[in-house]
């Protein structure tokens, strides 16, 4: 029954009071791998590019509104 409920919560994104159970999911970290570095750095680079473009195209940005 509890498993069923847990499964249901997992699938729908719904939040309910009895969905909490403890299980060891915090140990056993894998070593950091190169694709993780690529993912993180790539994401920061894309963010920076969108930030620069956004500051120019958004009329209410600090650049266009004059701070």
């Amino acid at each position: 029954m509890a498993e069923e409920k847990k499964k249901e919560v997992h699938g729908t994104g719904s939040l309910s009071a009895d969905a909490l159970e403890a299980e060891d999911v915090l140990s056993g970290a894998e070593p950091w791998e190169p694709w993780e570095t690529k993912l993180v750095v790539g994401s920061f680079i894309v963010a920076f590019i969108i930030l620069l473009i956004g500051l120019f195209i958004v009329p209410t940005s600090i650049i266009n509104a004059g701070g």
Binding site: H10, L15, A17, L26, V41, G54, I57, V58, S61, A65
Partner: protein
């Protein structure tokens, strides 16, 4: 990735997201009938600020005696049935409100396969408790601002000046007391304590608010209507860019903190990254599914999301109002809230509280010379959040691809594109539909506020106000109370996820919130709220 076949209609009768659309949409359509002179929403009963005894010389305008503390909104706003709605009185109004919501909500509960009897009983208690909190929270000591006192000819007196925010806080406190000190009652109510469902429905109602704002302003001044329409578009654009930038910084940042500093496993770090960065519960659950984390990871993160959302809800509106950026940066604070608070419910509620506090403060600071229309600051918080919500589907899909093809490379496994649709927060559809419908009325038959369109705009207003004001706030109240009821601090302590608590704490307060403030400040500098002082707008 689940390999079971799910068509695009999957979940339409069984998921909270869709039921928020159906219920929100149903009442929005009822409200729209006012355009044809049919008023079917005037029953929703709304509170006023009250006192036990009116002081001598006071007039019952903004502050009324306790027995007038509630009124059906139709009694004030209806064009065709004002007398009828007045005749039902506050008790009749509350009872009709109860019946009008109980029926569709129970139908929703039935289709979502909840225990309908238990839901009905729990809902009944939650509904009336909500109205009780709404009543107490509107006592003048908590809610009245300088403007209210002045307009009702009250003598100068000390009040907390919290506006409608007092009721939200009270509902949350009452919920937390029930959830933590009256456990049997909390269990009894748990089937109906559904903060995510209530808030998603409230967000559909909020769509009516966003679309209706130009109409509201135009009924007072055509120029003001145009200004507010422009402002909502500015918020939409700036919110979109800010969200993209913020999210692309948030997720990898939290992922790195979790992996490098706290040495968490990849899947746990990925779920935490989404939970703290995007929109909490839904994102944690979507990412958990995408990377195939153990269900408990998503659930633990979801629990943390709720607890920290409550903490943010208590701290941030006050911080943004009284410390930084203050009322002069009200439209920087709103989006910063949207980027920082990780559940739709808490964000919209925190935005609502911020709205009340900011408007109360600016009115107090300027002695009433500056007054802002209600709801725009809330909208600024929610728009950013909605963009983040829309990002969930995309990000969950990217993570699903990444995990499927890079991390856990399984030959021959395919990720169907429809998965993005399944992960898309559906209530957003209701929100945008409501917004677009009312904007269409404004720019179409309403002639953008020109005199020839005024009759239809006034008719639209009569049906929109009960939805965007009464129903929206009622569902916010329900959200707060429910959020408190399901938050069990002891349960969280017992789960021994201290490490996760620390990652969340550090990630949120030392990374997410400062970055959110910076990005919001960069993109929302040039926004100004219109001053409506002296225009007779409430």
């Amino acid at each position: 990735m689940s390999q079971e076949k799910k068509g695009w209609t999957y979940g339409m009768l069984t998921q909270e997201d869709w039921w928020a659309v159906w219920i929100g949409g149903f009442f929005m359509i009822l409200g729209l009938l006012s355009v044809w002179g049919i008023d079917l929403v005037g029953w929703i009963t709304y509170p006023k600020i009250w006192v036990f005894k009116m002081p001598e010389g006071a007039v019952p305008k903004k502050i009324v005696p306790w027995y007038q503390a509630f009124y059906p909104l139709g009694a004030k706003y209806s064009l065709t049935a004002k007398k009828f709605w007045k005749s039902i009185g506050p008790i009749g109004g509350i009872l009709i409100t109860y019946v009008a919501f109980t029926i569709p909500l129970c139908i929703g509960a039935y289709f979502m396969r909840w225990n309908v009897r238990q839901f009905f009983l729990g809902w009944t208690v939650i509904f009336f408790l909500t109205y009780l909190c709404w009543f107490i929270g509107h006592h003048a000591f908590f809610a009245a601002t300088t403007v209210h006192l002045k307009k009702s000819n009250f003598p100068d007196m000390f009040t907390l000046s919290l506006g409608g925010g007092a009721s939200f806080i009270l509902a949350l406190i009452v919920g937390l007391i029930i959830g933590n000190f009256f456990k049997p009652l909390a269990r009894f109510l748990s089937e109906a304590a559904k903060p995510e469902w209530y808030i998603k429905t409230a967000i559909v109602f909020l769509g009516v608010k966003v679309g209706y704002l130009p109409i509201k302003m135009a009924t007072f001044s055509q120029k003001l209507g145009h200004k507010v329409a422009g402002l909502t578009f500015e918020l939409f654009l700036a919110g979109a860019v800010a969200t993209f930038v913020a999210y692309l910084i948030f997720w990898p940042g939290i992922y790195t903190i979790s992996r490098k500093i706290f040495k968490l496993p990849r899947k746990t770090a990925a779920v935490l990254g989404s939970g703290i960065s995007i929109c909490g519960v839904s994102a944690a659950v979507a990412t958990g599914g995408a990377v195939r984390a153990k269900p408990v990871v998503s659930i633990m993160v979801s629990a943390l999301v709720v607890v920290y959302a409550v903490i943010e809800l208590i701290i941030l509106p006050w911080f943004f109002t009284y410390v930084w950026p203050g009322p002069e940066g009200a439209l920087v604070a709103g989006p910063a809230m949207g980027l920082s608070v990780k559940t739709d419910g808490a964000d919209a509620a925190a935005g609502e509280l911020l709205d009340e506090l900011m408007r109360a403060k600016i009115a107090k600071d300027t002695n009433g010379a500056v007054q802002w229309p209600e709801g725009i600051i809330t909208v600024s918080a929610v728009v950013t959040k909605l963009w983040i919500d829309m990002f969930i589907g995309l990000w969950a899909f990217i993570l699903a691809l990444l995990w499927c093809y890079v991390v856990e490379c399984r030959p021959g496994e395919k990720v169907p594109a429809i998965e993005v649709w399944h992960r898309f927060p559906k209530f957003v559809i209701g929100y945008f539909a409501a917004w677009i419908i009312y904007l269409t009325i404004f720019f179409g038959p309403g002639h953008a506020g020109a005199p020839e369109g005024m009759a239809i705009l006034k008719a639209a207003k009569a049906g929109a106000v009960p939805v965007e004001k009464g129903m929206r706030k009622l569902f916010f109240m329900l959200t707060f109370l429910s959020l408190g009821i399901i938050t069990d601090f002891k349960k969280l302590k017992e789960a021994q996820f201290g490490k996760m608590v620390w990652v969340y704490l550090i990630g949120l307060f030392f990374f997410i919130i400062p970055v959110a403030c910076l990005i919001s400040w960069l993109f929302h500098q040039g926004m100004e709220l219109p001053n409506i002082a002296g225009m007779g707008i409430e």
